[in-house]
């Protein structure tokens, strides 16, 4: 099989998945509307005159905006396609396993990119001031964090039925946002929540995001990154096992 053919298969799969996502308003609208609406009302509306708060919220919201599309796009959608025996047909077809998964990832990233980009535009016009590289770094981190949440979602999607995966993804989504301090700063919450935060990827990503956007000094970057890498490795291994098991 030629390299060109393989690349074309990957490309078409990604394009089709993006198209399919675009045509699913029940998934598209909440993924975009939730972070944008929250940010518009709370971040810009209520914090008027306190640019620092709008700035900090942006740093947290780029992570928040990446969780739902990545986890639901990979968790609930993979589970639903598995239930509809769509994946089975793709596993028989001469399609490399990676093409299906990367296609799904591309669709999730496209949606996250749109959400994060729109957040950035809102923040810019709402008065948040950063140097260009800080803008780029903050928004890119939101996009990159989607990969990690997609891997976590994939574990749910390959292991649970479509109902179960949706419910579990919802639960994790809320836990990540709340305990990760993305919605409410951790220092105004009880201290025990801070301990839970340590094990959520959203907390570490949120901290890195605050540093990249210049609100916190760079500190313990290695610590945050090692937790994130550990979670990513565990998720990759977990999803490999689950994929093999259903392909066997």
């Amino acid at each position: 099989m030629s390299l060109f053919h393989t690349l074309a298969v990957y490309g078409r799969e990604a394009r089709t998945q993006i198209l399919s996502t675009w045509r699913t308003p029940q998934f598209l609208i909440p993924s975009l509307a939730l972070p944008l609406l929250f940010y518009g009302v709370i971040g810009l509306g209520l914090s008027h005159g306190h640019e620092e708060a709008a700035h900090a919220m942006l740093a947290n919201y780029v992570i928040f905006a990446s969780i739902a599309p990545a986890m639901f796009g990979f968790g609930a959608a993979v589970a639903a396609e598995r239930e509809a025996k769509l994946i089975e047909l793709k596993q028989i077809a001469p399609l490399p396993a990676g093409a299906y998964l990367l296609g799904r990832l591309a669709a999730a990233l496209a949606l996250v990119g749109l959400a994060v980009g729109l957040l950035g535009v809102m923040a810019y016009f709402g008065g948040v001031v950063m140097t260009p590289w800080r803008w780029a770094a903050t928004l890119s981190l939101g996009l990159v964090s989607a990969v990690l949440f997609a891997l976590i979602g994939l574990n749910l999607g390959l292991r649970l039925g479509s109902q179960g995966a949706t419910a579990f993804a919802n639960l994790l989504f809320l836990a990540f946002c709340l305990f990760g301090g993305l919605w409410i700063p951790l220092d105004v919450m009880p201290s025990w929540i801070g301990h839970i935060a340590e094990v959520t990827p959203s907390y570490h990503l949120g901290q890195l995001s605050l540093m990249l956007s210049g609100l916190k000094p760079m500190a313990d970057v290695q610590g945050h990154l090692s937790v994130l890498v550990a979670i990513a490795v565990a998720a990759v291994i977990g999803s490999r096992i689950a994929w093999r098991r259903q392909a066997a």
Binding site: V9, T16, L19, R23, A84, L86, E88, L89, A93, P94
Partner: protein, 312 residues
């Protein structure tokens, strides 16, 4: 004799054993499909048809024995490139149009059919722009068929292909399958409709309890059940019926009973004498369905004596 009798087989299950949960789905099953053959795999529910198909399409691996497709592991990408599959319960993405979905699958193959040819062969003209989610069950089956033939496969696996189709759609699909066979493709067909097997297959393999109990041309299978089928409504029990003179098999379908007999006059005389309420009586030559039913009944009782391997 089918055209590919002496060519090397393209799909092989050799002494395959597969457990599914506590049941032994395949119990040393042997099956070889040669180029250009249309093989119908028949048998009661749970006989091992779906498991055989899953093994040959690489979705399951045998616990023991071997599954080979085009001489390699069925999971191999090269083998999958020469295979077209229509699964029994596969879904379609609701949000994509027929044309988009067919174009996507066609793109997986190195030398696919032209898109318009696939649409025409599968009878999907006029439906190209419809979303798959808005199609009827029969139309969705046609899209599944389109996906199966998109890569001009050398082996076409059709698992209950006409479920949910009306009569016209069934006949159109049969015509399309015959076209694939004429092109040189081998076909593996599983079906509950014996008329479908008779219309398409040049070889019938009857399996039960995970093993082959008969294998031959439709004529040869029917000839295995010499005799006549008596159909009627009767109040006699199965035990009474099988005790009648010359009866070789008893089966029920709703309220009607089918008796296979080697001497219709003798059986009829006794039957009419034993049950004066008898109704709805017909006498005809044994059909393929009668033959398969009978083979399954006796094959289960005497697997060794009834077994005939590679009769084709």
């Amino acid at each position: 004799m089918s055209p590919g009798t002496y060519a090397p087989p393209i799909a092989v299950l050799q002494k395959t054993i597969k457990r599914r949960g506590k049941t032994l789905a395949l119990d040393g099953l042997d099956l070889a499909i040669r180029p250009g053959q249309c093989v119908a795999l028949l048998g009661p529910n749970g006989a091992g048809k779906s498991t055989s198909v899953a093994l040959l399409t690489g979705r399951l691996r045998p616990d023991a024995g071997e599954a080979r497709l085009f001489g390699v592991d069925p999971h191999d990408l090269e083998a999958r490139g020469r295979l077209g599959v229509m699964l029994q319960e596969a879904g379609l993405p609701r949000t994509l149009t027929v044309r988009e979905q067919v174009a996507l699958f066609r793109g997986y193959y190195a030398k696919p059919r032209p898109l318009d040819e696939i649409i025409r062969l599968a009878g999907l003209e006029g439906l190209e722009r419809r979303r798959c989610g808005a199609l009827s069950g029969g139309q969705q089956r046609r899209v599944q068929f389109a996906l199966a033939i998109a890569g001009r496969p050398d082996l076409l696996v059709l698992d209950e292909p006409t479920t949910g189709m009306d009569i016209d759609a069934r006949r159109a699909l049969w015509t399309a399958v015959r076209g694939e066979i004429a092109r040189g493709a081998a076909v593996l067909l599983t079906t509950h409709h014996l008329d479908e097997a008779e219309a398409l297959a040049d070889r019938i393999v009857v399996i039960d309890k995970g093993r082959v109990i008969a294998d031959g041309s439709p004529e040869a299978i029917k000839a295995r059940v010499s005799g006549v089928a008596i159909r009627c409504r009767t109040r006699l029990s199965d035990g009474d019926l099988s005790a009648l003179a010359h009866v070789t098999g008893v089966s029920r379908d709703g309220g009607r009973v089918t008796l296979l007999t080697s001497s219709a006059p003798a059986t009829l005389r006794e039957l009419l004498a034993r049950d004066e309420t008898i109704d709805d009586l017909t006498v005809s030559g044994a059909s393929l369905e009668d033959a398969v039913t009978r083979l399954v009944q006796t094959g289960a009782a005497f697997p060794q004596t009834q077994r005939q391997i590679e009769a084709a």
